[in-house]
Point group: C2
Chain length 168, copies 2
DNA sequence: ACCTGAACACCGTTCAAGT
DNA sequence: ACCTGAACACCGTTCAAGT
């Protein structure tokens, strides 16, 4: 484990334990035993650090989807569960433009593959499914549904629609 | 137009012209002819200002949906068009918890009504539609789809699914 | 009642200097 | 090659003071 990976691991730890606003260069430096300016010997900017975290998040989510079975329902369940368990990483993975030239090759495709497969190979339908799942997750994470809203029922309705005309 | 509304209007102007990171208390003060600390005579905090902007956004989006005709397709078109035209206000409207006790009564319901109506009165289906639309819009605004992705086609597929079993 | 300048505790980032 | 302290240009916010 080189210094760069150590820093990424520490950043993940801060993100999971204390949320995105806690991830400052000074605090991250402290976590790995150096001052903030020294971090710039390992990452050109905080954005480059965030790109590394995004790659980590995408790989981890992709692996969770891979394990989900492959049905629309299983996929949806795995997607929502992962997002709720890792809200800050989910935000990084889905709400920042991908620095595709810096991303390890295949990471984006690997995360997308189970969705495309559940959509029967139709990429437009896969993106519709992605959009629906992302929207429900994002609204839930934002605390934006009215109090008492039955989020499970909204998911069930979404899953029902996207299961129609899909080989299960 | 009282001072409070003047400040909100100036904030909307900054948001639309220069994006969310440009909306600082110092710059907003400058736009309305005072120093940043004076803004705190009108708003207790920046969060309270953002809540006022959220209400403004919700009312404006609600009016746009009202004018959309009422079909799933028309509604989806109006939703996406408004969001792409007002990305910063859209983010405020949908990605921050609603301060419902401070919101003018009826604003949230008015924005939701056209969607619930298009869903035939089924609130779970309405939330599924909201989630799907929000997800597609949010991924598009984040620049998260791969280059060359046919976003129109993903919308078309989503609209097709949500039009099934809905009286048009 | 409304506005001000000065200050506080933070940010990300740069840079000359040390080893 | 790696790390440091000091500094810069920002934040949101507080507060004593002025009118």
């Amino acid at each position: 484990m080189n210094r760069r990976d150590e820093i990424v691991a520490a950043a993940v730890g801060i993100l999971e334990a204390a949320g995105p606003e806690a991830l400052t260069m000074r605090r991250l430096g402290h976590a790995v035993g150096m001052r903030a300016p020294s971090l710039y010997k390992h990452f050109a900017s905080k954005d480059e650090l965030l790109a590394a975290l995004q790659e980590h998040a995408l790989a981890d989510l992709g692996a969770a989807l891979e394990r989900s079975g492959g049905t629309v329902c299983g996929l949806a369940r795995a997607y929502r569960t992962w997002a709720l368990a890792h809200p800050a990483l989910y935000d990084l993975a889905m709400r920042h433009p991908l620095a595709r030239h810096r991303l390890a090759p295949g990471v984006e495709e690997a995360a997308a593959a189970p969705v495309v497969s559940a959509a029967g190979g139709d990429v437009d339908r896969a993106r519709a499914m992605w959009g629906a799942a992302h929207g429900l997750v994002d609204l839930e994470l934002a605390g934006r549904f009215p109090p008492g809203a039955d989020i499970d029922a909204a998911w069930a309705e979404t899953i029902r629609l996207f299961s129609m005309g899909t080989a299960q």
